[in-house]
């Protein structure tokens, strides 16, 4: 299996000189793999009809053998028209090829890649092998840290750990659904499915269940065309034909479908988030992207449904975070917060401090358990200290077997005092800003990691300075309230004598 990835990946280096970066490469590979597999399965694409720009219906031979038989500029030109033709088809085909463009300038490179793909009998490979190969490529592209490759990639180690806690089991009941409203290349959905297959221990599923799982269990939404395409391909290679919608989850009012499980990692950062979404189901009006995603998740969960959402620290202390979390904790049991190690999103967003929050809709929160996997844990780096299963092993033990966080929990389950509970009163005291639920002292500040981008450090410094400003303002306010003769302590006496 790693052979296949290795071979395909090795080829990528050749293509870099043709101006094709990792992300482009995987996209092109997606197109070609699809054509090859269609051919192996006997799907005839040789007479693909579509309506051309001039309004006339045109036929194009999109089959693999025809593509493979060509060379030179005839090949690159033919490839362009194949992509165009398939992009205009209906169904999965059209979705995968929507807006597809060729990135090949040099026919020799395209020809060579066709050769590499042709060598392998893709349909002969097991689902696990193909799927793993594709996932492997996605992961590799993300870890190369080039722009665009990582923005839709959540580390699989983290996803798998979350999935093991949340246990999205389609056998729970007949209408069981799971959604990722910011699905990127489909990592959560794929891992949820892989987890389920693991649970069945490879046993055969009855036909009705198999059908339901294939088409009616996994849902996603993704704004950006490329990751959406990769998600479709990724799930398709896993044998699923899910519904992946386009469009922006937080600006469009969702349809009436609600889900049993929502697993998601909304995009970080604030770009393009200036506009306040106009949605009646959002109680708090804010331009903060992550806070809006949280409100969206709140809407699309079924009563009793459960969610795990990856959020950056700023989403916990931003201006309206307290208000959003107050609502969330009234409507849901926010039972668990996992503070992720620094650098979890290395290398493409190494400075972003992140958390996972787990909640179940339908009852108010009484106790929040926080697991600190960050303090005094060496920063995750791409090469020397990658994220491993071990980073979350103790957390999963502490989380317990109940996906809604109702297992019996105790602080002593963590050897290093990383696991503690806070009552809702304590949370309220902190104005529902749950980043304040800290107790371990971080000693690792001095350690400098050259992999952190300067802009991340500058942002961190801004946060520190802002915090200093806030504290100083509080002190000023305190001094003013005391000094003007209306101090808190003086008040009772003063009002007592008012008459």
């Amino acid at each position: 299996m790693s052979d296949v990835v290795g071979k395909l990946w090795g080829f990528c280096h050749t293509l870099r000189h043709d101006g094709i970066d990792y992300g482009d490469y995987i996209e092109q590979l997606t197109y070609l793999l699809f054509l090859k597999m269609a051919d192996e399965r006997g799907i005839d694409l040789s007479k693909t009809k579509y309506v051309a720009g001039n309004g006339r219906e045109v036929e194009c031979d999109c089959s693999w053998p025809t593509l493979e038989s060509k060379s030179g500029t005839a090949l690159t030109e033919h490839y362009v028209s194949v992509l165009q033709a398939l992009g205009k088809q209906k169904g999965l085909l059209g979705e995968i090829f929507a807006g597809a463009l060729s990135r090949f300038n040099n026919p020799v490179n395209l020809k060579a890649l066709l050769g590499v793909i042709d060598e392998t009998e893709w349909t002969q490979l097991g689902v696990d092998v193909k799927a793993a190969a594709f996932e492997g490529l996605l992961e590799k592209a993300a870890s190369e840290g080039k722009k665009g490759a990582g923005q839709y990639f959540t580390p699989r180690i983290l996803i798998q750990s979350i999935v093991r806690c949340v246990k999205p089991d389609p056998r729970s009941h007949k209408e069981f659904t799971i959604s990722d409203p910011a699905c990127g290349s489909g990592g959560f959905l794929v891992s949820a499915y892989e987890w389920f297959i693991g649970e069945t221990k490879g046993g055969a599923l009855d036909r009705e269940l198999a059908k339901r799982i294939k088409k009616g269990t996994y849902y996603g939404q993704e704004l950006v065309a490329r990751p959406k395409r990769l998600a479709l391909m990724n799930l398709y290679l896993h044998g699923l034909e899910p519904v992946i919608k386009g469009g922006d989850s937080i600006y469009e009012v969702p349809d009436s479908q609600r889900f049993d499980v929502v697993l998601t990692n909304p995009p970080f950062g604030t770009k393009g988030a200036n506009q306040v979404p106009d949605r009646d189901d959002f109680t708090i009006e804010t331009s903060n992207k992550q806070l809006n995603f949280l409100q969206h998740v709140l809407t699309i969960l079924k009563q009793g449904g459960r969610a795990a959402v990856v959020v950056p620290d700023n989403c916990l202390f931003a201006d309206q975070a307290g208000e959003v979390f107050e609502i969330l904790m009234k409507d849901c049991v926010l039972h668990t917060v996992l503070r992720l190690p620094n650098g979890t999103f290395s290398p493409y967003s190494p400075g972003t401090k992140t958390n996972v929050i787990f909640f179940t809709k339908g009852a108010p929160t009484e106790t929040v358990w926080v697991y600190d996997a960050r303090s005094n844990v060496p920063r995750i780096t791409k090469k020397d200290r990658p994220l491993t299963k071990e980073h979350f092993a103790e957390f999963e033990k502490c989380f317990g077997g109940d996906p809604n966080g109702r297992s019996k929990r105790k602080a002593s389950d963590s050897k290093e005092d990383r696991w503690r509970s806070f009552s809702i009163a304590e949370v309220k005291e902190r104005d529902y800003k749950i980043d304040g639920l800290k107790w371990l002292k971080d000693e690792s500040l001095d350690e400098f990691d050259p992999d952190i981008e300067p802009q991340e450090l500058a942002t961190d410094a801004i946060a520190e300075l802002k915090a200093a400003v806030e504290e100083l303002n509080a002190i000023v306010a305190m001094l003013e309230s005391n000094g003007n003769g209306n101090g808190k302590s003086a008040k009772p006496a003063a009002t007592g004598k008012k008459a």
Partner: protein, 488 residues
């Protein structure tokens, strides 16, 4: 009464008219019972007991950030307690270290004894312990002045009694203490944040250097200048580099682009002029050469081949600290003749391929620093690196135009970081004085409404501190008399 204490006291008393309305001034010995301490023989281990009589030494208060203290690291066994002059004082006693160092303060949370390194104040009714605690904190600098002694400064019992004490009516003392607790508990936090910001800015510089040498800093610049590529043009020997760089850059050995690498003059210079100026080793820091850090050479030789030129790079080749070894700084704004000493290496470039400023940036980056100091030879506590090692360093060479862009960007970012650091430092300096300023405000009677004012507003009476003082004095006299009587 000593002259100094007398002066202090007179100052307070003359200032009495300046006291807030209703306040009074006294010596602390007039309003409290001053108690010393003792230590049993330390050579006898069963004088001490972990869970015995709580007992403090000044060291117990070092780094202690709380206000109330229960016990020190060690306690006294009953035997130890009885064998020495330590006295157990009641909760609410204000404990002040009187030597090594002077002026740590805490309040006893329970009955506690101290070593002789303390003078403690057992307070009567009417004086709020927290108020006295904050007063002593406020007076910390003056307390140092009261110390005497030849080997180390110490406040004697007699001196401790003379510590001036100004105080408000009882209720006002309580209000002041509460307000001070509230405010001073928060003054540390902004400092922590500022400290972290400072550290982050230092890391920011390192991160900029790293981004400069990996090509990240000029990523879009390369997109805009696709034709700039150095690969084909050069006859330099490429090597396998330790990290990934853009395709248009190459890894070479540093030595392959040098025309010269030369150690300086070993003749010992003089500290003062006359003589010909020669740099000290300490003049070279990563990213800078301080031209004013110089010595003077009175030897007759001309040493003309050791004269520095604008744009020369200097590396330290020998240093006691690994952090200062192999650092590289560029000679800038050279005014006149200047030589350089033996422990520095001067580097000049042979090709017009390298901007010295870029090389300076490169050797300042964490990766290059690690490589150059890796396996440094240590002798007699000093660490050294050879010229051969510097020459063998892998060097990431961008096209000349891009080097120019890198240097421009790094300089601009560093200039901004400089400006921000200055502001952070200024903010830090002010925030550090915040606690003292708040204390000063409190003891000027300006932090909370005074009892006098409130009473007036509410049309009621209150007990001025002067009356309180008289009452305390009277009570103490009675007690002293009783004690005398009992003894007889």
């Amino acid at each position: 009464m000593s002259t100094k204490a007398q002066l202090l006291r007179e100052e307070e008393i003359t200032a009495e008219s300046d006291l807030p309305e209703g306040w009074a001034a006294a010596e602390i010995g007039e309003v409290s019972h001053v108690v010393g301490g003792g230590t049993p023989k330390t050579s006898v281990s069963d004088n001490f007991s972990e869970d015995g009589q709580p007992w403090l030494t000044p060291a117990d208060l070092s780094g202690f950030e709380g206000m109330y203290i229960k016990r020190g690291r060690r306690g006294l066994s009953e035997k130890g307690f009885r064998s020495c002059g330590a006295t157990a004082m009641p909760p609410g006693t204000v404990l002040m270290s009187s030597r090594a160092p002077i002026g740590y303060v805490a309040i006893a949370a329970n009955p506690i004894a101290t070593s002789q390194g303390f003078k403690s104040f057992v307070l009567p009714n009417g004086i709020v312990p927290e108020y006295c605690y904050f007063w002593l904190k406020y007076k910390r600098d003056d307390l140092q002045e009261l110390g005497s002694g030849t080997t180390f400064l110490e406040i004697s019992g007699a001196k401790a009694k003379e510590i001036p004490f100004i105080f408000a009516p009882y209720e006002e003392q309580r209000r002041i203490s509460r307000a001070l607790e509230e405010v001073t508990s928060r003054t540390k936090s902004p400092l922590n944040h500022l400290g972290r910001a400072k550290q982050l800015l230092a890391n920011f510089r390192q991160s900029v250097l790293a981004a400069a040498c990996s090509g990240k800093l000029t990523e879009e610049w390369r997109v805009q200048h696709p034709d700039v590529d150095l690969n084909q043009k050069l006859d330099l020997k490429k090597i396998d580099g330790p990290t990934e760089i853009p395709d248009s850059w190459i890894w070479i050995t540093f030595g392959s682009i040098l025309s010269e690498l030369k150690n300086g003059i070993s003749t010992k210079p003089e500290i003062e002029p006359p003589g010909r100026p020669i740099l000290r080793i300490s003049a070279v820091r990563s990213g800078s050469v301080s031209l004013e850090d110089r010595r003077y050479l009175r030897a007759k030789e001309k040493f003309s081949e050791y004269g520095l030129r604008e744009g020369d790079l200097l590396f330290t080749r020998y240093n006691g600290s690994l952090d200062l070894l192999g650092v590289c700084g560029q000679v800038r704004n050279l005014g006149g003749e200047l030589l350089y000493p033996d422990k520095l290496m001067r580097v000049r470039f042979g090709h017009g391929l390298v901007l010295p400023s870029y090389a300076e940036i490169f050797f300042g980056s964490t990766g290059a620093r690690e490589r150059i100091t890796d396996g440094a030879v240590s002798s007699a506590g000093q660490q050294g690196i050879s010229g051969a090692k510097v020459k063998a360093q892998p060097f990431a060479l961008p096209p000349f135009e891009e080097q120019d862009e890198i240097v421009r960007r790094v300089e601009a970012l560093f200039k901004l970081a400089d400006a921000i650091e200055k502001r952070v430092a200024a903010a830090t300096a002010r925030a550090e004085n915040l606690t003292q300023a708040v204390l000063a405000k409190a003891f000027r009677g300006e932090l909370v409404s005074t009892e006098a004012e409130l009473a007036r507003r509410e049309g009621r009476d209150y007990e001025p501190a002067s009356v309180l003082l008289e009452r305390i004095r009277a009570e103490r006299q009675t007690k002293a008399a009783n004690r005398k009587n009992n003894r007889i």
